[in-house]
């Protein structure tokens, strides 16, 4: 059986999205910046895609900037917020310890330029404490950036509340919503969001295309120079086919969002129930305030890469936060942030479902994970020391 359970990494493109892109490769292929009719046709398509996406997010078309994806949108949002702050002498930024590296590494580069960054802890359930955020706000805080939903453990942050806190203090608020858009209904204005990043390939759209929504009051800083596209804020000929594909995918995802999320949530909870029966394991992140698609477990006494590769042998595509899968020495910063010790964080498994996942697939995943965990424990000296009582179990 082939089971794709890594939809947080990327998704299979929707047929409708693929179909919608095709005319823009070899029929309407003009450059939207060209004045002749072939160019203007492409421009019209671009305009209507922008309008549609804006209406789906609850903002104005001019507040939409097309980017190469979530990482670029995160970079541009944060750099813009920082530059605007610096002009007023405000050089303090607040974020969290569980952000994606597109945010964390951008913040690190700003630190080298003299910005101060406060990374908030999260509670053991993987959710930011808004009181801690309030306490961290200073006179010179110019930007708060908190992800909408975490890419590893799926926890959903109190975005509207965070936005309200920022609004009251006159601080810009950005959210990396790459994992959330298309899976949860979001209205940027109602949720007090000043800037939001999204990426099409997370909701069955094409790779290499995304959006930065920025409230019209925010003058964005360029990170790519060289043309008048996107109101001069993002140079480069617009990727018309991908933008159309993104629009179609988002429309489709949001049209079915409630039905899909009800269905996926049922599968998720069955998966959590099934894997939770494995002794000495733990669900990472709050069981309720998480994406309908996300399941993330730690299993004591084993290492995640081995688990992944043996699941791959069984036809299951999944992901892990072990150091070995990242090529770095430390396991997932997110798992460490919710208080998992290193040796536990190494044994993590992320499964991310979609509306295309079936009940049979979920049962197959449960059966396979149980088998593989049992096997890896049977050859693990760490496990032997635990069961023989030489060392104490960390997980119940």
């Amino acid at each position: 059986m082939k089971v794709y359970a890594d939809n947080a990494a990327t998704t299979k493109m929707s047929k409708a999205a693929i179909e919608s892109m095709l005319p823009y490769f070899d029929e309407v292929y003009g450059n939207p910046s060209s004045l002749y009719s072939e160019g203007q046709k492409a421009k019209e398509v671009l305009t209507s895609a922008r309008e549609k996406i804006a209406s789906l997010l609850g903002c104005e078309p001019r507040e939409i900037t097309f980017t190469s994806g979530g990482s670029e949108a995160d970079n541009q949002a944060i750099v813009s917020g920082a530059r605007l702050g610096a002009r007023k002498g405000k050089k303090h930024i607040i974020s969290t310890k569980i952000e994606h590296h597109a945010v964390l590494h951008t913040l690190q580069s700003l630190e080298k330029e003299g910005f101060e960054v406060t990374l908030l802890d999260v509670k053991p359930d993987g959710i930011v404490d808004t009181q801690e955020l309030k306490n961290a706000i200073r006179e010179d805080t110019c930007l708060v950036t908190v992800m909408y939903a975490n890419n590893e453990i799926g926890t959903i942050q109190p975005i509207k509340e965070i936005g309200a806190i920022c609004k009251e203090k006159g601080i810009l608020f950005h959210t990396d919503a790459v994992q959330a858009v298309g899976h949860i209904k979001i209205n940027v204005k109602e949720e007090n969001i000043d800037m939001l990043s999204l990426s099409a390939h997370k909701f069955h759209g094409p790779k290499g295309i995304g959006v930065l929504y920025a409230d019209k009051k925010i003058p964005l800083s360029n990170i790519i120079y060289g043309g008048a596209q996107e109101r001069g804020k993002r140079a480069g000929t617009e990727n018309v086919p991908s933008i159309v594909g993104m629009k179609t995918a988002l429309e489709e995802a949001l049209l079915n969002v409630e039905e899909n999320s009800r269905y996926i949530l049922k599968l998720r909870d069955r998966l959590i129930e099934g894997l939770g029966k494995i002794p000495h394991s733990i669900l990472n992140g709050d069981a309720q305030k998480r994406l309908p698609s996300n399941v993330n477990f730690c299993f004591e006494g084993i290492e995640g890469e081995s688990l992944l590769l043996l699941l791959d042998d069984k036809g299951i595509s999944a992901s892990s936060g072990s150091a070995c899968t990242s090529g770095s020495l430390d396991p997932s910063h997110v798992l460490l942030a919710i208080g998992r010790p290193h040796e536990i964080a190494h044994g993590s498994l992320r499964l991310s479902l979609s509306e295309q996942t079936t009940e049979q697939e979920v049962e197959y995943i449960i059966k396979s994970v149980i088998e593989v965990v049992e096997y890896l424990r049977s050859i693990s000296p760490v496990w032997r020391d635990l069961v023989t009582g030489k060392n104490k179990f960390i997980l119940k």
């Binding site: 290492e303 590769l309 290193h342 050859i379 693990s380």
Partner: protein
Amino acid sequence: MALYSEKVMSHFRNPRNVGIIEDADGVGEVGNAKCGDIMKIYLKIDNDTVTDVKFETFGCASAIASSSMATEMIKGKKLSEVLEVTNQAVAEALDGLPAHKMHCSVLAEEAIKSALKDYYDKNSIQYDEKLFANCNSCEHCGV
């Protein structure tokens, strides 16, 4: 290209000599669960020869494959030959390891030497300390 060679995957999927030896003559354990790899090697030694060897490993595919290959390489060998098994030899026998996984082969070499040292110590056999330098060749854990 796949991350690992076919040989690595074969030893990972079907590791040779997995298990423990209850009455082992030498046992060696190296690594650290915090770093994500621990290897434990059990030796049965008779007449200066490794007559049996078993291992247990907590770690990634290359750690499991490296321990499996290393046990194959020393089984039935004279102790003088066992001491000559280097991490490079283990990695080469696996048709190579990715650069960031080379520490797994280092761990395998050290696990064997640690088990051998345990045997020498238990039997008060004299040995050259220099042959058992510990963990210096690998900066993986930064300890």
